[in-house]
């Protein structure tokens, strides 16, 4: 059984058909890429999977179970984490606190213990801090752990958002344009980082990115969306040579 | 860090509590007569009731001038301090407390009955005489033995005007009643009116409710007019009442109009203008009362307003009642000072003794002769029913006392 199954998915906003009967299957452990121009429906697909947008038709299955109608925090608790195209960090909080929020679902404690600050409460809080710091270290952010998230450089903010997403210990990580605004050297590093965390945390990754070379180099499989429809699916090589993709997306020169 | 700040804040506040709880013993010190005999007033000078407070302030100041002009209290002048009680309970309470802490021997106010229910208990607990100039709600003097009022309850006045209306036009059969339901005075008065109507066999054909701040009464009026009334009875304040009368007449009502005590003010002339003409009004005060006290008062009022020819030279009821309240306190102080010179009394002794004097006296006031019941309720000799007569242009008019 595939980890994530998108079946005949359609989303309509008023008069606009953002997704039209899209089918996808993501297998455990793979890095799966979504290509397509802005407005093709990639982010909408992410939003449906993570529960921020309701599908008009079709369904999304997680390990065979239907996710329809589940609110986003329920979906997050099932093990699906995401980052956002336009960076949605908690800007009034420090990096550490951002990651601590990511650890939210693992930090549950009895309210009385929290009120009285019992010994066990403090020990557990200290543990959470330790975990958060470790994650920050993985993304080379430990030095700025007490800095306000809004004051970080652009690349650091992108990495912090990934650290926060990982804090919930997801099985599936949705990355929405993680390389946007990075220079080629940074993009190369990012490609390495994504591979590394996939192996370290036994993740499955679903990634949206415009940078075609990065996607071709990173992904195990790719799908191409255009005007809400899936126009291609397959290995990087297959997709690159697909005449429909060349016609609608890459153009002849690519 | 937060905790440090928090604890210092807590310490600061507790210190404030401790400090403030040491107050109140001031009542045992001697009356401070250095600036005159301290009397306080708390009036609604801001907020929705500001127009009433403004009228009252004039009355109190006129009475002060009259008292001090006549030599004050056995040669010592009265020192009046007026504070704004706003139009809500918190500010009225604060102003009461402030005046009490300043050592005032008696207080006039507050303007509204709702504020009185909140602020008067403070004075009662501290043993400070209160003379209410404008609270007409049931239960005010009952707050305690230090609370009295010179404003008569609606129950005694209202029925008179109904009788008068029926006397003028015995063919009246269908009465409509309108009142402001969020106003303590109006709701109390309308009950009296409705009882008076029922007693005369005129059960209201419709009862319409308005709100104090309403300005457009088209709905209530057309609903009332549908019942084809030949008498409309209003329990409203001057502003909404004036507007309602104008709209009532403009929409074609020709029958009799009886209004309550709340509209007993020349302030209604500019509001309903020519349409005020002919309304019957129940009065706790008539500017036409021909007693020396009232003539002195109306003359003083007219003189004070003379700098502005556009303003009516005839005093409103609220002004007369506020004047009366100040006069009552002044005269009671004079009697007290004769018996026990204020100089030798502590503040709390003076207050207690003053209250007894207030309740014990008989006063010749603009309202006529008044006395108090032992509870502090006013006993007023003269009540009036007047008819408004407007001049040809509808710019000004007068309350013509009906026999």
């Amino acid at each position: 059984m595939s980890l994530l199954q998108v079946e005949n998915l359609g989303v309509r906003f008023g008069g606009l058909q953002a997704l039209k009967s899209v089918d996808l299957e993501v297998q455990q452990g793979e890095i799966f890429g979504l290509l397509g121009p802005n407005g093709a429906g990639k982010t909408t697909l992410f939003n449906v999977i993570s529960g921020l947008t309701a599908a008009s038709s079709g369904s999304v299955r997680w390990r065979g179970a239907c996710l329809d109608g589940l609110s986003s925090h329920r979906i997050a608790r099932l093990g699906i984490a995401r980052t956002f195209q336009n960076l949605r960090l908690f800007s009034s909080m420090s990096c550490l606190e951002n990651v601590l929020v990511g650890l939210h679902q693992h930090g549950r404690q009895p309210s009385l213990a929290a009120l009285l600050q019992t010994h066990s409460f403090r020990r557990r809080e200290a543990q959470l801090h330790q975990q958060a710091l470790e994650l920050l270290a993985l993304f080379q952010l430990e030095a700025s752990s007490h800095q306000n998230a809004a004051s970080l450089s652009y690349g650091d903010r992108r990495r912090l958002e990934m650290a926060r997403a990982l804090a919930s210990r997801p099985q599936l990580l949705l990355l929405d344009e993680p390389a946007a605004g990075m220079n080629p050297a940074e993009k190369d590093e990012l490609q390495e980082l994504i591979r590394r965390i996939r192996n370290k945390f036994k993740l499955t990754v679903l990634i949206i990115e415009h940078h075609v070379p990065l996607m071709l180099g990173l992904c195990d499989r790719l799908a191409v969306l255009n005007f809400g429809q899936r126009i291609a699916l397959g290995s990087p090589e297959q997709v690159r040579r697909d005449p429909a993709v060349i016609e609608a997306y890459l153009g002849v020169g690519a | 860090m937060m905790r440090r700040l928090a604890s210092s804040l807590a310490a600061l506040l507790s210190a404030a509590v401790t400090l403030s709880s040491c107050r109140g013993s001031d009542d045992q010190v001697l009356v401070n007569l250095s600036k005159g005999i301290p009397v306080g007033a708390v009036l609604a000078l801001t907020g929705n009731a500001n127009v009433y407070g403004q009228d009252q302030k004039i009355g109190i100041e006129l009475a002060l001038a009259a008292l001090n002009g006549a030599g004050g209290v056995n040669g010592k002048p009265l020192a009046l301090s007026i504070e704004d009680g706003g139009s809500a309970e918190p500010s009225a309470n604060a102003a009461f407390t402030l005046q009490i802490n300043r050592g005032m021997l008696a207080l006039i106010g507050p303007t509204l009955s709702q504020q009185a229910f909140s602020a008067d208990p403070i004075a009662q607990r501290r043993g400070v005489p209160v003379v209410a100039p404008s609270n007409t709600a049931t239960g005010i003097p009952e707050i305690g033995n230090f609370i009295s009022r010179v404003s008569a309850q609606s129950s005694v006045i209202a029925p008179l005007s109904i009788s008068k209306a029926l006397q003028l036009n015995p063919s009246i059969r269908r009465a409509a009643v309108i009142y402001a339901q969020d106003d303590a005075y109006s709701t109390a008065e309308t009950v009296i009116f409705q009882q008076a109507l029922t007693a005369k066999g005129l059960k209201p054909v419709t009862v319409q409710r308005t709100q104090l701040n309403d300005q457009d009464f088209q709905s209530q009026i057309t609903a009332a007019l549908n019942q084809k009334p030949d008498l409309v009875v209003l329990s409203l304040q001057a502003m909404d009442g004036g507007n309602l009368i104008r709209q009532l007449r403009e929409l074609g009502y020709r029958g009799a109009i009886v209004v309550g005590n709340g509209m007993n003010t020349p302030n209604i002339y500019p509001i309903c203008q020519k349409y005020c003409d002919g309304i019957l009004i129940a009065q706790a005060y008539s500017p036409e009362l021909a007693t020396p006290a009232n003539q002195r008062f109306t003359a003083a009022f007219a003189a004070a307003q003379s700098r502005n020819p556009k303003v009516s030279p005839i005093p409103p009821q609220l002004t007369a009642q506020a004047y009366t309240a100040m006069q009552v306190i002044g005269e009671a102080l004079a009697r007290l000072d004769h018996k026990q010179p204020l100089k030798g009394l502590s503040v709390s002794q003076a207050r207690r003794a003053l209250m007894d004097e207030i309740l014990g006296g008989t006063y010749q006031t603009p309202l006529g002769e008044i006395r108090f019941t032992p509870e502090g309720e006013v006993i007023q000799k003269n009540f009036f029913v007047a008819q408004v007569l407007m001049n040809a242009g509808g710019e000004s008019g007068r309350f013509s006392l009906l026999p």
Binding site: G15, L16, G36, P37, N38, G39, S151, S153, Y154, G155, A180, G181, M182, N183, P184, A185, E186, K187, H210, V212, P213, N226, F227, E247, A248, Y249, L250, G251, G253, A254 | -
Partner: protein, 242 residues
């Protein structure tokens, strides 16, 4: 005016701060009339900030912005537009609740020459025929590529002396990037001066005369488009290998 040799636009030691963060640390650049200069660099390097400072959306903390040799540091945006500087912002920012035609009409807000406006409108429709087809549609209903075309056309409606474009290729399909770049090349050929901010260095350098690389608020490299395209180290760190 400093004489005929003064560049159209010149930045001298331009410094911009956002609160405590310094976004530009003393930028020097000049654009001659008729040139197409491209400004390259990663996000956060200060490319957009440079454009925003020139168009008066933000006030520089130091340095000079010279237009035809005259200082324009403190001018409000509408004044710089009047001078002939048109800034086509990142993310297109079309007025989505107004029609394509209304968007274009607002592009000519400061102009009063009705006949010339009508002529320019026809030129835009000729440059991007798809806009002509959709002139009565709401701008919000256009596709990303069409919105970019509308944004560029709208800037052109101000009849600018200098057109500044902020990442016109952002989020477009590679096929459309080529189309937009071709249109820009066409405008350049017709003599329009342009300052082009791009992340897609390859595409930008193909049509530009000169390029500058911004890094953390300073200019780290610059030269003719050919030089930059063939520079090995730049190739590795900025231009990538497509």
């Amino acid at each position: 005016m400093n004489g005929p040799q003064a560049p159209l636009l010149e930045l001298r030691n331009l410094v911009v701060r956002y609160g405590s963060i310094t976004a530009l640390r003393g930028i020097n650049l000049s654009v001659q009339a008729g040139e197409l200069v491209t400004l390259l660099g990663a996000n956060g390097a200060g490319k957009s900030t440079t454009l925003r400072a020139i168009s008066g959306l933000i006030q520089p903390a130091g340095g000079e912005i010279l237009w035809h040799g005259g200082l324009i540091n403190r001018l409000r945006t509408e004044r710089t537009v009047k001078l002939g500087i048109s800034h086509c912002p990142e993310g297109r920012r079309v007025l989505s609740r107004q029609s394509v035609a209304d968007n274009l009409a607002l592009g000519a807000w400061l102009r009063r020459d009705k006949a010339a406006i009508a002529k320019d409108l026809e030129r835009c429709y000729a440059l991007f025929p798809r806009l002509a087809e959709r002139r009565n549609q709401l701008a919000g209903s256009l596709s990303g590529g069409e919105q970019q075309m509308l944004a560029i056309s709208r800037s052109l409606m101000a009849r600018p002396t200098l057109l500044m474009l902020d990442e016109p290729s952002l989020g477009l399909a590679p096929r459309l990037v080529a189309e937009v770049m071709a249109a820009l090349a066409q405008l350049h050929q017709d003599g329009l001066t342009m300052l082009l901010v791009e992340q897609n260095a390859q595409a930008a350098l193909t049509i530009a005369d000169r390029g500058l690389v911004l890094e953390a608020g300073s200019i780290s490299a610059g030269g003719s488009a050919e030089q930059l395209l063939t520079n090995g180290s730049l190739q590795a760190s900025y231009l990538g290998s497509t």
